[in-house]
Symmetry: C2
C-alpha cells in the first residue's frame, strides 16, 4: 500500500471514533451537527496519523493511542472553526464554514465543544493498560501548552495581516508565526504519540524535531497552494490569503526584491475585497519573475530534509518509513 | 474571620497565580490583556474556593490544589467571555465586556487561551508530591467532561431564550439547562478538590452532591438578582435577562399562574430591546403578586439544605464549616 492508502485506512478509524464521541441527544442536535460539520466535510487527518505512527515508531501499540490521535484532530478542527470566524472565511474543505451555516453563537460553541471533547478523548487513553498515568499527564500537559501556542500564533497572524503595506515584516516574524500557528500542533502530535508509545528522551527529541520541521514545511506549502493551487482540489477560494492581506514568506521575499512596478502589481491586489482570476495571475507572474515561489519551495524542501534527518536515530520500521514518506508528501501535495 | 474575609484571602492567592500564568511577551500584549480583563474586573472566586475547601475537607493540602483551583476559575472566565459574545452583553463585573473592548476576533481567542491555560494550570499539580498521576488524570477527565456539559448548557440556554412566548417550557427543561450551564462547574470544582485531596468514594460523592446543589441554588439566586438586584452592586444592567428573553424559573412559574392581564404585563417587556426601570418595576410587582420570586427562593433554599445535608458524612473541620457557610451565602448574597 502507498502512503495515501495507509493514511486513508487510519483516517477511517479516526473518523469512526470521532463520530461516536460526538453523538448527541436530540435537544442538542444543532450544536453537535455544527461541531461535526467540518470533520464530515473532509480533511486528510495528517495530525492523527502523526500521533499513531510516532507511537508505532517507538514500539507502541496503535490501538492505545487512537483516542490521543482523535484528540489532536479535534483540536485542529476547533481552531479551524474559530479561525474561520476571525478571518471571515466562508468556504473550507469545499463546504460553507460553520458560522455561515449555523451562525456565530453556535459556531463559537461548536469550537469550544470540540476543544473539551479533545481532552475527554485524550484521557480515554488511560483505560489502556500499556499507558501509564504519568505519561498521560505529560502528554496532556504538552497538548494544553500547544493549544496556548496556537492561540498565540493566530493572534500573531492577525497582527501581521495587512501590515506588509506599511511595515517590513521580517522572515523571523513569519517563522515565529507559522511555528506557533501550525508547526506547534504537528510537533505535539508527534510528541504525544511518542510519549504514549514509550519513547525514551532521544526518541522523543527526534520525533519532536521531525514534527516541528514538517509543520513549518506544511504551512509554507499551504501558502504556495493558497496562491497557485487548484480551487476545486483545495476546497477554498484561491487568493483568500491575498484578499485577507495574510503575511506569507512568498510576499515578504517578493516585496524585498520587487521593482516599484512589481510592488504596485502586488499591492493593488493585497488586502483587496474582490480579486479576479486575472489579477491573481498577474501577481503570480510577478512572484515567478522574482523567484519568490521557488525561494519558498526550496526552504520548505530544506525543512523536509531536516525532518527526515531527525528520524535517523530511530530503528527502521514500517512506521518510520511512513513518516519519511509523509515528509515528502507534505511538499509534493497539491491539496 | 468570617466567610467573606477567608474567601478574599484565598482569592488573593488565586489571582497571583493567574496573573503569573497569564504574563505575556510584548508582541502578544493585546491577546493577554484581553484574557486578563474579566479576571481583573472582579469576581468572588467561588469556584476556586470550592476546590480548595473540598480538598482540605478530606484532609488534603491546600497548596497542592492551588493550580487546580486556578484551572476552574480560568474555565469559568473563558465561558464568560464567549457567552458575552453569544448573548451580546456589553457589561460584566461593572466593566465593558471583552468583545466590546478588543473586538470579536481577539475576544474569541482570549477565551480559547484561558481554556488551554486552565489545563496547563491543572497539570501543574503534578509537580506536587502529594498528588498521584492517577488522581490527576481522573480530575482532568472530569473537568474536560464538565466543560462539554457547560457548552451544552449554553446551547440549551440559547435554544430556550425567547421561547416562553410560544412554548410552555417545563421546569425540567429549566433544571436541565441550569445544571449544565452552571451547576456542572460547581460540582466538578468540588470533585477536583476532593479527588486531588485524596477523598474516598463516599467523601467524593458527598462533595459532588454538595457542589451540584449549591450550583443549582447559585443560578436560581442569579436569576432573582438579575431582576431584583442592585445594578451598581451587580455590575451588570438589571433586566438583561428579560431583554434577552432568558428562560428562568421565575418566569416559568409566573406565566403558568398569570391572569391574561398579568401575562400581558410580562410579555410586553419579555425580549424587548430597551426596558425602562418603570417597566421592570411593573413586572416585579406582578412577579411578587404571583409569588414567583418567593417560589424560586424557597426552592433555592431547599437546594442549600440538601447541599448542607450532603456534607454530613464528612468529619468536622474548618473547611467543612466554610463550605456550610458558603452554602448559606449562595442564597443570602446580594451580588
Amino acid at each position: 500500500m502507498g502512503l495515501l492508502e495507509v493514511m486513508r485506512s487510519y483516517s477511517v478509524k479516526v473518523n469512526e471514533f470521532i463520530f461516536k464521541l460526538l453523538s448527541d441527544d436530540f435537544k442538542l442536535k444543532e450544536l453537535y451537527d455544527a461541531s461535526r460539520h467540518l470533520i464530515k466535510a473532509g480533511g486528510k487527518r495528517v495530525r492523527p496519523f502523526l500521533v499513531i505512527q510516532s507511537c508505532r515508531a517507538v514500539g507502541g501499540d496503535e490501538e492505545s493511542v487512537l483516542p490521543a490521535a482523535v484528540a489532536v484532530e479535534l483540536i485542529h478542527n476547533f481552531t479551524l472553526i474559530h479561525d474561520d470566524i476571525m478571518d471571515q472565511d466562508d468556504l473550507r474543505r469545499g463546504a460553507p464554514t460553520v458560522h455561515v451555516l449555523w451562525g456565530l453563537p453556535t459556531a463559537i460553541l461548536a469550537g469550544d465543544l470540540l476543544f473539551s471533547k479533545a481532552f475527554e478523548a485524550l484521557f480515554m487513553c488511560s483505560s489502556h493498560p500499556n499507558i501509564s498515568f504519568e505519561r498521560l499527564v505529560e502528554a496532556g500537559r504538552r497538548l494544553a501548552s500547544a493549544v496556548s501556542t496556537i492561540a498565540e500564533g493566530q493572534a500573531l497572524d492577525m497582527s501581521l495581516s495587512g501590515k506588509l503595506k506599511e511595515v517590513l515584516v521580517g522572515e523571523d516574524d513569519y517563522f515565529e508565526m507559522i511555528y506557533k500557528k501550525t508547526a506547534a500542533l504537528f510537533k505535539v502530535s508527534c510528541e504525544v504519540g511518542g510519549i504514549l508509545g514509550g519513547a525514551d528522551s532521544n526518541e522523543l527529541n527526534a520525533l519532536s524535531k521531525y514534527g516541528e520541521h514538517i509543520g513549518i514545511a506544511f504551512q509554507m506549502k499551504d501558502d504556495i497552494l493558497g496562491i497557485m493551487g487548484d480551487e476545486k482540489v483545495l476546497g477554498k477560494p484561491i487568493g483568500s490569503d491575498l484578499r485577507e492581506g495574510k503575511c506569507t514568506l512568498i510576499l515578504i521575499h517578493a516585496l524585498k526584491n520587487a521593482s516599484d512596478r512589481q510592488r504596485k502589481t502586488i499591492m493593488d491586489v493585497y488586502g483587496k475585497e474582490n480579486i479576479s482570476r486575472d489579477e491573481i495571475n498577474l501577481v503570480i507572474d510577478v512572484l515567478r519573475d522574482l523567484g519568490s515561489i521557488e525561494y519558498v519551495e526550496s526552504i520548505a524542501r530544506e525543512q523536509v530534509s531536516l525532518a527526515k534527518k531527525s528520524l535517523e536515530i530511530l530503528g527502521s520500521s514500517e512506521a518510520k518509513s511512513l513518516l519519511l514518506d509523509l515528509a515528502d508528501f507534505i511538499v509534493a501535495r497539491r491539496y
